[in-house]
Amino acid sequence: MSKHTFSIGGVHPHDNKISRECPITPLPIAPTVYISVAQHIGAPSVPCVAVGDKVKVGQVIAEPGGFVGAFIHSSVSGTVKSIAPRADLAGRATTHIEIAVEGDEWADGIDTTDTLVTTIPEDPKAIVEKIKLGGVVGLGGATFPTHVKLSPPPGSKCERVIINGCECEPYLTSDFRTLLEKGEQVVVGAALLKKAMGDVPCTIAIEENKPEAIAHIQDVIAKLGYQGIEVMVMKMMYPQGGEKQLIDAVMHRQVGSGALPISVGAVVQNVATALAVYDAVQKNKPIVDNSVTVTGECFPKQANLLVRVGTPLRYILDYLGGVPEEAAKIISGGPMMGRAVANLDAATVKGTGALLLLTEKQTKRAPATQCIRCGKCADACPMGLEPFLLNKLSKAADWDACEANAAQDCIECGCCLYSCPAHIPLLDNIRVGKGFVLSAIRARAKK
């Protein structure tokens, strides 16, 4: 079978999938959860419960704050204790709804059985509406509200739905386990997304380092008998799962600068999102939990846990035996694009896919030395940019030149900094330039 990949750049970090044999197991519910109202890209949601209210699992507790917004549901049953600012993963104060847990009582109308529902509703609009009601957001990292992505602007047409099962970040295995354990649900979710976009073809893209998942999903597609859904085997290459890179690899089309995937006829959804779509449409079950890989060489207990949204990180780590002494950095997400956690009392959000514990030796940056003009950063950049140049332009605060050299196209994948032999903090500086360029572009658009 031929293997596909994107056309420019990329790096090969060791994949370190040490938690790949750990089945997804439910984490006992924490005594108190803290549910953020800003769990997605777009306007924060508006709480619709009051302190003292009794809530059930799956009950709406916050409503969308705008068109690009999402419903937020209670992940537990209990009493609302407070609605107040609290430090999130990065330490920023965000409004959280604190709920003291009492039992585990689900809201009416939610099907909590394991029965597989394979009948696809006829009306695409009804599917999108149910996805919206289920509070589904992109779980691959960007947490963009899914129903917005599924409502293409007038004039654009979807030609292919791509289910992203690359999981190209090292260490992460929750998508892999989901494909193995919930393969049927993911494939039905893919069929629902395909139907919602007008019965276009659908590709499930999986990297070659997950042969069991590839074989299993192929079997499931054959068994369920859906037409127009195929598995595509991808080469192991980071950042294969980047939206623009994946579209390039699957459809050989490049999304232009500042454009949306739909401009080339693509809609990309992550494996975990496909599962959430299945739950929302077929079972009326909103996002109340998600699978989280907890891993790291210094961590004795690898795990893939099904975690209720709003669970404090410390509760998860304590359940697995606490944070080892050698752990110096805890990352929410993968080692290439994840965020370093500043605050273990922070609670998980819908998009929390992993907690990675790294030792100081694994993660400490070496001091930067002089650029030797080797060009490794330019070779690695999947957007075809020149990181060494953008680094200099950003440091010189020359935002016009940053824009002319496409700093705004940077996807912050980290390939440049990863490969720089002089350990120059390329991406740190480019982010600054990108920020200035993007605000300049927005300011021009307003005029």
Partner: protein, 325 residues
């Protein structure tokens, strides 16, 4: 766990460092070093020792006493300059001439511009060319290799020098090249600077660097292809006046220059097409100097000339950006 480290992504780094890349280049040069010491004996070892030691010491002294900055000798780039300079001069060169070469290479060509990464021209080549124009006697009295245990070496001009002189005296190329066979050229049986003598050892180092992904082969292959093509055309037109492609590929410092000097990160273009054009320029200029210039050998000059236009090549030949015309 005491305190959590917090920093922006990415949180891991590849194993590459400037030092590890430079160490790979040193390793790639080991076959050529062994080869030249075996063929030229202890005098070559002296040249190598003096060259490497002076380059490293000079860089250390300049960073410490003149620039007052942390020393950069740990990155091993000065070691490479030292080895390349030594491989670019005859083994009979007196130690003080080698030392002057090192002063020019490190002091003038490298540190004046700010040290590693900042120089415009390849330091070892600047040193070599300085010696060539300042001490032509030492630099052009080549000796046929006598071997590690040999007693007396036979002095004589290099193959390219012989051809140049012979042509001036009216002999034809066929008569002149009949004295050499390609096996000798490949297996180090001819006079020349140390680095010219064993083509196979140098090519082995080049293959190692490509396999380790330290360098990409485009620049080197482009030089070889251009030299072969240019000489094929001239030789095809007049075989009495011009030497043939294989002879040109195997003589002079071409292999050393193409594999180790033209591929220097600092002084070569970054993009694929920039590198190819860089190689085309070096190959063509080399052949023009060899055929029409007053020096028998042109690789050093060709590389230095092309080093000067690297910023232009970097500007003209950029990789296509994703999703842009």
């Amino acid at each position: 766990m005491n305190k959590l480290l917090v920093s922006p992504s990415p949180h891991i780094h590849s194993k590459d460092s400037t030092k590890s890349l430079m160490l790979d280049v040193v390793i790639a040069l080991v076959p050529a070093i062994i080869c030249s010491v075996v063929f030229y004996g202890w005098q070559e070892l002296l040249v190598l020792g003096v060259s490497v030691a002076s380059c490293v010491l000079l860089e250390w002294a300049i960073t410490k006493y003149m620039l007052k900055k942390p020393s950069t000798v740990g990155d091993l780039s000065a070691v490479i300059t030292g080895i390349l300079l030594a491989l670019n001069v005859p083994y009979t060169t007196p130690w003080w001439v080698v030392f002057i070469g090192a002063v020019v290479a490190i002091g003038v060509a490298k540190m004046t511009f700010g040290g590693i990464g900042q120089n415009i021209w390849n330091p070892a080549l600047v040193g070599r060319v300085f010696l060539l124009v300042s001490f032509p006697t030492y630099m052009t009295t080549w000796s046929k290799p006598a071997g590690l245990f040999g007693v007396d070496a036979v002095s004589g001009p290099t193959p390219l020098g012989t051809i140049q002189e012979g042509l001036m005296q009216g002999s034809s190329v066929q008569e002149l090249t009949s004295a050499y066979n390609y096996k000798d050229l490949l297996f180090a049986n001819l006079g020349g600077s140390a680095g010219e003598v064993c083509a196979l050892a140098l090519l082995a180092g080049f293959v190692y660097l490509c396999c380790r992904k330290v360098i990409k082969p485009w620049i080197t292959l482009s030089i070889f292809a251009t030299v072969a093509l240019t000489s094929l055309i001239f030789w095809g037109i007049n075989p009495d006046r011009f030497t043939d492609p294989l002879f040109n590929l195997l003589t002079g410092g071409l292999i050393l220059g193409a594999c180790f000097m033209a591929t220097d990160y600092v002084t070569s273009p970054m993009s694929l097409w920039g590198g190819v054009m860089f190689g085309v320029g070096i190959g063509f200029l080399t052949m023009m100097i060899r055929y029409f210039g007053s020096y028998p050998e042109g690789v050093s000059f060709a590389i230095l000339i092309m080093n000067s236009v690297v910023p232009l090549l970097n500007m003209w030949f950029k990789q296509k950006k994703f999703g842009r015309k």
